[in-house]
C-alpha cells in the first residue's frame, strides 16, 4: 500500500512542485487583483459621483459574484479558450464587487463638512479627490482589496480546471486519486497564502494615512514586477501540449504509467474533463487523455492512439451495490443484471454521441435504449422504498443513471432517486460506503487502481485479462467493503490517449509508441 507515506515525506518529495504551483497561484491572484484595482477603484469613485448609476453598477458586479465560479469558467471557454487568460478574467470578475463596493462606501462616507471645507478653500475637483477623499476612504478601500485578495486565493484553486495551474492541481488530483496527502499539499499552502495575504493587507490598512502615497505607488509596482517575472515563463517552449484531467494526471495507469511504459515525456497541463475536448478542438492542446467510449471522440473528430504496449488496463463497466440493500431487496440484483452484456462499446459510444453532440437529454436516450431492447415498462407504484442511484460527473454516467432509474421504476416497486454530480471515483465510492447512495456504475480498472491499491505483484497477476480484473475487484469489494459487483454491462470504457485526426495523420502517428518516438526525436 502506498498510503503509508506521511504528509511530511510528501511535502519534501513534492517541494519543488508545491513551490511552483504556489508561485502560479500567487500570479493568478495578484495579476487579477491588480487589474481589478485598476478598474474597480475608478469605477467606485465614478458611481460615488453619479449616485443614479450606483445601484445598477453595484447590482451588476454583485450578480457577477453570484455566478458559480466553475460555471463562469465554463462559460468563458468559447471566448477565451483555456489557460491563464480565462482564469484571470474570472478572478478579476470576482474581485470587482468588494473593491467597487468599498471604494463607493469609502468615498461616500467622507464627512460632508470636510468636503465642503475643501471646496470652500479653493481645491479643484481632482485636488479634492487626491488630497481629501481618497486618503480618507483609503482604509475602507484597502479592506475591500483585502477581501478580494482572500476570495481570489480561494477561487484561484479552480483555475486548475482550465489548465491554468495553481494549487488546485494538487487538490483536484488528490480528490480524484483518493490521496489525502496530495489534497493537503494543495489545501495547506492555499490556506496559508490566504492567511498571509489577509494579514499583509490588514497591515496596509493600519498604516498611517500619511504613507498612502508611498504604498499606492510601491505596491502595484512591486506586484506587477513580481507578476511579470513569473508570468514570462508561462507558455514558453511548448512543442506539443497535453491536457489531462486530474485523475488521469495522477493515476498509475494514467500519465505516470505512460511515462513508465512508453518513456513518454511531454509538457502537460491539468484541465477539467469538460473543458479538455474544447481545448483540443481549439488547438490549444495537442494530446488529451480521455475515455474510449466518449461521444466527443467522434464529435470533435479525434483519433484514439493504439495502446500498443498495453499500459491501460481494462475498464469494464458494472453496477456496484450495497450488500445490505441487496439482502433486503433481493429482486434488485436480477433487474440490474437485465442489462448484462447489452451495452457494447459501439452502443455506448452512440449513446454518448447523442447526448454530447446531438444535445439529446440523457433521459430521452435512456428511454430510447430501453424501448429498443424491450425493457421499457411504465413506472410502478414506487411504494417499496427508495433506491438511491449515484453517478459521476460525465455524460456516460448520466445516461447510465437514467437507464437504471427507469429500469428500477418499471421492474420493481422501488422509487429511484438519482444523485448525479458526485465528482469523481473517490466521492462516489465514499457516498456508497457511507450509505448515502445504494448503487453506482464503476469500472473494473478504476476499482482496482483507485480504490484497492494492490501491490505490484498482485497487480501484474490480476492485469493479465479483463476477467481476472473483474473477478479480483468483485472478490475484494465484497470482503473489504461489503459491496457487490453485479454482472458487467459489456463495454470497456478504457483510458485512451487521443489527438486531432488531421494532426495525427499529418505526423503519421497511430500508436502511443509513435507519439513517444516523435517527441523524443524532436
Amino acid at each position: 500500500m502506498e498510503q503509508s507515506q506521511t504528509l511530511g515525506q510528501f511535502f519534501l518529495q513534492q517541494g519543488g512542485k508545491i513551490l511552483e504551483q504556489t508561485v502560479t497561484h500567487l500570479e493568478l491572484t495578484f495579476i487579477s487583483l491588480i487589474i481589478s484595482i485598476v478598474v474597480a477603484v475608478p469605477l467606485g469613485i465614478l458611481i460615488a459621483r453619479k449616485q443614479k448609476v450606483a445601484g445598477v453598477v453595484l447590482g451588476f458586479v454583485g450578480v457577477l459574484q453570484t455566478i458559480p465560479s466553475i460555471a463562469l469558467l465554463g462559460f468563458l471557454i468559447p471566448f477565451l479558450g483555456i489557460g491563464m487568460l480565462p482564469a484571470i478574467v474570472v478572478l478579476f470578475m470576482y474581485a470587482l464587487l468588494p473593491i467597487v463596493r468599498n471604494t463607493y462606501t469609502g468615498i461616500t462616507q467622507v464627512d460632508r463638512s470636510v468636503l465642503e471645507a475643501a471646496t470652500a478653500i479653493g481645491m479643484s475637483q481632482s485636488q479634492r479627490l487626491w488630497k481629501v477623499e481618497l486618503p480618507l476612504a483609503f482604509p475602507v478601500i484597502m479592506s475591500g482589496i483585502r477581501t478580494a485578495a482572500v476570495i481570489n486565493v480561494g477561487v484561484a484553486t479552480l483555475a486548475a480546471f482550465i489548465a491554468a495551474g495553481g494549487l488546485g492541481e494538487f487538490i483536484f488530483a488528490g480528490i480524484a486519486l483518493n490521496n489525502s496527502n496530495m489534497i493537503l499539499a494543495g489545501a495547506i499552502p492555499a490556506a496559508v497564502l490566504a492567511i498571509i495575504l489577509d494579514h499583509l493587507f490588514a497591515l496596509f490598512r493600519g498604516i498611517s494615512i500619511r504613507s498612502i502615497k508611498a504604498v499606492s505607488i510601491v505596491v502595484p509596482v512591486f506586484l506587477l514586477a513580481a507578476a511579470w517575472i513569473n508570468f514570462a515563463p508561462f507558455g514558453a517552449g511548448k512543442e506539443m501540449l497535453a491536457g489531462f484531467e486530474p485523475e488521469f494526471m495522477g493515476r498509475q495507469d494514467g500519465y505516470p504509467g505512460l511515462k513508465k511504459v512508453y518513456g513518454l515525456d511531454m509538457n502537460t497541463v491539468m484541465i477539467h474533463d469538460a473543458m479538455m475536448y474544447k481545448g483540443i478542438d481549439d488547438g490549444k492542446l495537442d494530446v488529451i487523455g480521455g475515455y474510449s467510449t466518449d461521444g466527443r471522440v467522434k464529435a470533435y473528430n479525434l483519433v484514439i492512439l493504439e495502446d500498443d504496449q498495453h499500459n491501460f488496463p481494462p475498464y469494464h463497466a458494472a453496477p456496484v451495490v450495497r450488500m445490505d440493500f441487496l439482502k433486503s431487496h433481493p429482486e434488485v440484483e436480477e433487474v440490474l443484471n437485465l442489462l448484462a452484456g447489452k451495452i457494447t462499446d459501439s452502443v455506448m459510444i452512440a449513446m454518448n454521441y447523442k447526448v454530447d453532440h446531438l444535445k439529446q437529454s440523457p433521459e430521452q436516450v435512456a428511454k430510447e435504449f430501453l424501448l429498443q431492447h424491450g425493457l421499457w415498462r411504465e413506472p410502478q407504484s414506487g411504494k417499496g422504498g427508495v433506491f438511491r442511484i449515484g453517478s459521476k460527473v460525465f455524460t456516460e454516467q448520466y445516461t447510465l443513471a437514467s437507464i437504471y432509474s427507469m429500469l428500477i421504476a418499471g421492474h420493481t416497486q422501488l422509487k429511484p432517486v438519482t444523485s448525479t454530480g458526485l465528482g469523481g471515483t473517490k466521492i462516489c465510492f465514499d457516498a456508497l460506503l457511507n450509505n448515502q447512495i445504494d448503487f453506482y456504475v464503476e469500472y473494473t480498472g478504476t476499482g482496482l487502481l483507485v480504490i484497492l491499491h494492490p501491490d505490484e505483484q498482485t497487480l501484474k497477476r490480476v492485469l493479465l485479462s479483463a476477467d481476472s480484473v473483474y473477478n479480483y475487484v468483485q472478490q475484494e469489494f465484497q470482503s473489504q467493503y461489503n459491496l457487490k459487483w453485479t454482472q458487467p454491462l459489456g463495454f470497456n470504457n478504457s483510458y485512451a490517449l487521443m489527438m486531432r485526426k488531421e494532426e495525427a495523420e499529418s505526423l503519421g502517428i497511430t500508436t502511443i509508441s509513435q507519439l513517444s518516438d516523435y517527441l523524443k526525436n524532436d
Binding site: 464627512d111 463638512s113 470636510v114 465642503e116 471645507a117 475643501a118 471646496t119 470652500a120 478653500i121 479653493g122 481645491m123 479643484s124 485636488q127 488630497k131 481629501v132 486618503p135 480618507l136 494615512i209 500619511r210
Partner: protein, 316 residues
C-alpha cells in the same frame, strides 16, 4: 443676487455693500437665506441672478477655485481635514497657491502664536485631539493663512458651548489680523451679531429687512419683525448700543449735597452702569461721570435715564 432651489426662492434680490475693513453680519433665523447669500459670494452656490464685486472686479468671472483661494472661509462645523496635522491644515491654501516651504512655515508659526496655539505643542497634532475652541482657532488660521483681504464666516461659533463661544468671540474681536479684513459673517445669534458687527443686515425669508449699525437697528427699527426678532433682548441691546458719550450733552447735573463716592466713565454703556449700581447699596444719590475729554458731571441715575430716553426718541 437671487437664488431659488427647485422653484422655491431662497434669496430674492438681496443687495448690499461691505466697505473695506468693515465687519458685516448677516443676521436671521434659519431659512432666512443668510447662508445661501454668504455662499454665493465665493461661488459655493452660483446665483440665478446677480453679481459679486470684490475690489471693483467681477468675482464670479474667474474660475471658482481661484476666487476661493483669495477669500478666507470659516465653516460652521470647522471642516478641518482629519488626516492632516494642525500645521498641514493651516498650510493648505498657501500650498495651493504654491508658496515656498519656508514662507508657509513662517506664516503658520505666526498665526499659531497669535491664536494661542503654541507651535511646538500643537503643530503636529491631529484635529481629533483638539478641543472645540482649539479646532475653531485652527479653522480661522486656515482661512487667514494666505492673508486674504476678504473673510467669510458661516456661523463660526455655533458649534461651541456658550462659555467657549464667548471667549473665542472676544479673542477673535481683539485679533489684529481681523481688524484689517473685510468680513462677512453669518449668525442667528443676536448677541454675537451686535458684539462683532460694524454693520448688521437683518434677513428674513430671503430678503433684507433692515440694515445698519447696531444703534440704527435697535433704535430705528421701522418694522414689527425686527422687534419681534430681537424680542427680550431688545432692552439689553438698547442699553448696550451706545456709550454715554453719545448723549453727554443731554445729561442734567443734580444737587451736590447727597453725593456718593461712585464714579463712572462716559465711554461705558448705560448697561454697565446699571450693572454696577445693582451691586452697591445705591439709594438714588448723585454720582460722578467723566467724559472722554476729561469733563465731569455730577448726576443721578434718573437723570441719566432721562437723557437716554431723549436720545432714543431723537434717534428715531
Amino acid at each position: 443676487m437671487s437664488k431659488s432651489f427647485k422653484g422655491k426662492p431662497v434669496v430674492s434680490d438681496v443687495s448690499f455693500e461691505v466697505h473695506q475693513d468693515e465687519t458685516m453680519v448677516l443676521l436671521g433665523t434659519s431659512g432666512s437665506g443668510k447662508t445661501t447669500t454668504l455662499k454665493m459670494i465665493n461661488g459655493l452656490i452660483s446665483p440665478d441672478q446677480g453679481r459679486v464685486f470684490i475690489d471693483g472686479k467681477d468675482a464670479l468671472a474667474q474660475p471658482p477655485e481661484m476666487l476661493r483661494r483669495q477669500v478666507g472661509f470659516v465653516l460652521q462645523n470647522m471642516g478641518l481635514f482629519p488626516h492632516y496635522t494642525v500645521e498641514e491644515n493651516i498650510s493648505v491654501v498657501p500650498s495651493l497657491l504654491k508658496w515656498d516651504k519656508k514662507r508657509i512655515n513662517g506664516r503658520v508659526r505666526e498665526l499659531m502664536e497669535k491664536l494661542q496655539l503654541p507651535y511646538h505643542d500643537y503643530a503636529s497634532v491631529y484635529p481629533s485631539h483638539l478641543s472645540g475652541g482649539q479646532q475653531q482657532r485652527v479653522g480661522l488660521a486656515r482661512a487667514l493663512a494666505a492673508n486674504p483681504p476678504v473673510l467669510l464666516m458661516d456661523e463660526p461659533f455655533s458649534a461651541l458651548d456658550p462659555i467657549t463661544r464667548k471667549n473665542i468671540r472676544r479673542e477673535f474681536r481683539e485679533l489684529d489680523e481681523l481688524r484689517n479684513k473685510t468680513i462677512v459673517m453669518v449668525t442667528h445669534d443676536v448677541q454675537e451679531a451686535f458684539d462683532m458687527a460694524d454693520r448688521i443686515c437683518l434677513m428674513s425669508e430671503g430678503k433684507i429687512i433692515q440694515s445698519g449699525s447696531a444703534s440704527e437697528i435697535v433704535f430705528r427699527n421701522q418694522q414689527g419683525f425686527v422687534s419681534q426678532f430681537l424680542g427680550d433682548q431688545q432692552l439689553i441691546l438698547e442699553l448696550k448700543a451706545v456709550t454715554i458719550n453719545a448723549y453727554w450733552d443731554a445729561i442734567e447735573t443734580v444737587d451736590q449735597t447727597t453725593q456718593s463716592e461712585l464714579k463712572f466713565n462716559a465711554s461705558q454703556h448705560l448697561f454697565d452702569i446699571l450693572q454696577s449700581l445693582i451691586d452697591v447699596p445705591y439709594q438714588g444719590e448723585a454720582f460722578t461721570i467723566v467724559h472722554t475729554s476729561g469733563e465731569k458731571k455730577i448726576t443721578s441715575f434718573s437723570a441719566l435715564m432721562q437723557a437716554f430716553r431723549a436720545f432714543k426718541s431723537n434717534y428715531r
